[in-house]
């Protein structure tokens, strides 16, 4: 059962804010600056081949999927930035799939710090022209749009919250390992 509309909307906005932070931090970690676009701002037209990647996730009180989408040109530039010389369609799909994986990993980390645990699936990627990814029925998920020198990058979180969903403080002994960190045993 879904939460009351007000509570679910509040939680959705908080989690989307975490996703915005995670997106800019992920690209920043790769030396790429992205700025979130005002939802009302005019968006650069994206034509040509698009690539989209989706990763499902599930927890006790939160479940859904992360969707990211951008142009093939953006992915090609990203590959160059990462030092890849692969030009195949499979390599481009793989690159965006890995980015969706890392992005959801960062969001998972932020949620763990707030006492929310989710489990993450493996990504699925699609590529083509005129790609459409409609949101889940009853799931008012807006596209979060970012812009930078590589082009426009879009993320969306199709999340559904159970009535029991709540943020909490993670126990110090359960603090997760953060992105870029290394732990040796």
């Amino acid at each position: 059962m879904e939460q009351s509309t007000h509570a679910a909307t509040t939680h959705r906005i908080e989690v989307e804010d975490l996703l915005v932070e995670a997106t800019t931090a992920l690209f920043d970690a790769h030396g790429i600056s992205l700025v979130r676009l005002d939802p009302e701002a005019a968006v650069r037209v994206q034509s040509g081949t698009m690539v989209t990647s989706t990763v499902g996730f599930a927890g006790d009180d939160l479940r859904g999927a992360l969707v990211i989408s951008t142009s093939l040109d953006f992915v090609r530039r990203l590959q160059v930035q990462l030092g890849s010389d692969e030009s195949s369609i499979e390599a481009a799909s793989d690159t965006l799939g890995e980015f969706s994986n890392m992005l959801l990993g960062r969001l998972k980390y932020s949620l763990l710090l707030r006492g929310v645990t989710i489990f993450v699936a493996t990504p699925t990627t699609a590529l083509g022209e005129h790609l459409m990814v409609p949101p889940l029925t009853g799931c008012p998920s807006p596209w979060l749009r970012f812009d930078g020198e590589m082009g426009v990058f879009n993320t969306r979180l199709d999340a559904s919250f159970s009535p029991e969903f709540a943020f909490a403080t993670a126990s110090p002994r359960d603090l997760p390992v953060g992105a870029g960190e290394m732990m040796m045993f």
Binding site: Q79, N101, T117, T122, P176, A179, G180, M183
Partner: protein
């Protein structure tokens, strides 16, 4: 002869990034796309001394791979470092209990991975 490293990740991008980093440090790279593929590569190359392993992979994930290595007693003389987007304490502890020697959360810093690889293979 250079030290062999098995890089297990379903992402070509990550296998290439790790391979480039460790090749520059003098290691020889063998790639596997998931845990099941890695078990075959281990059998084919018993002189592998280091494994860099993802967690979330299709067919056989990284934790299942560690379990399989332990069950089939293929881990002697091999150090395993997990390289993943996951940072959850339970998973880290599970990997440690199965014999992993390190845990790195992506994106990795090349100099740290190389330093860890050199340290672990020098001690082996």
């Amino acid at each position: 002869m250079s030290t062999k490293v098995l890089v297990i990740d379903d992402s070509l991008l990550v296998r290439q990034q790790v391979g480039r980093t460790l090749s520059a440090g003098g290691f020889t790279i063998i790639e596997a796309v998931d845990g099941a593929d890695a078990m075959q590569k281990l059998t084919a190359s018993p002189d592998i001394r280091l494994i860099v392993c993802d967690v979330n992979m299709p067919r056989m994930n990284g934790i299942q791979f560690l379990e399989s290595m332990k069950r089939e007693e293929k881990g002697a003389g091999i150090s395993v470092v997990m390289l993943t987007t996951e940072g959850q304490t339970e998973l880290v502890q599970r990997a440690k209990s199965l014999g992993a020697r390190g845990w790195i959360v992506k994106p990795f810093k090349p100099e740290l991975l190389l330093a860890a690889a050199k340290k672990l293979t020098a001690a082996a």
